[in-house]
Symmetry: C2
Subunit: 146 residues, 2 copies
């Protein structure tokens, strides 16, 4: 099952370059959890990423290595700046429509999926009473208990 697709223009892996492309997260749920991207930190932690929502409706789930978290809306013609140090994942909370976002990040940033894959994000986005709700991820451990 394909939950999402990424189309990227791979420029050289240099700080002055900017890699960019489009992410399509399809609509749907696994259990009560909305379809989402895997999510990642940047290998060079001190690099940002800009998202610009072109279509659909969703949420960006974010967290830092220290355990801070934030969830921000993705709406058509809305930009979302993910500051340096924040892991991020986009979630399609719309009903029946793709979530389409443009992304841009420094060429040297790199992707670190490993730390997220081990325990997931601190917060999950699930459907409750027909709409999205932010709930705790029972698998998540604070940094000092990992």
């Amino acid at each position: 099952m394909v939950l999402y697709e990424v189309y990227e223009l791979l420029r050289p892996g240099l700080a002055g370059e900017m890699r960019h492309g489009l992410t399509v997260v399809h609509p749907g749920k696994v259990g009560d959890e909305y379809f989402m991207t895997k999510g990642h930190y940047h290998t060079v932690l001190e690099t940002a990423e800009l998202y610009y929502c072109l279509k659909g409706e969703g949420l960006m789930v974010m967290e830092t290595p220290e355990g801070e978290w934030a969830v921000e809306p993705l709406r058509p013609n809305g930009g979302l700046y993910v500051p340096p140090r924040w892991a991020h994942r986009s979630v399609n909370t719309g009903s029946g429509e793709d979530l389409l976002t443009l992304f841009v990040y420094p060429g040297n940033a790199g992707h670190d999926y490993g730390s997220i894959e081990r325990q997931g994000f601190r917060k999950l986005i699930v459907e409750r009473n027909g709409g999205p709700q932010i709930v705790d991820n029972p698998r998540w451990l604070p940094p000092e208990e990992r």
Copy 2:
């Protein structure tokens, strides 16, 4: 007379950050030359800039310090990657509509308007027979004659 407006989110001037915002170039002409932005090099020459056209119709005029030039279309839902080393200016060639672009560039890039202000870009975009045409700028000098 206001030819264009820039709305920018000023993030810290660091390589891992990304400054971004919107440029609106209004429709119109000065003589037979279409309204345009001043155009600039980046102070850190080896930095890129990504543009994404949200509305309107235009052209991006570009050149390098060595005198290479390029002109590329700006159309709704079209991205344009200005690679490191290329000065760039956006020109509204539409009839009656604003040209609206999203821009993103590395936080440490900086703007160098001086070298363009002295002699302008190598190519100008003028109206001929009701449409845009690329013509030589008579004020422009090749690098070895400056």
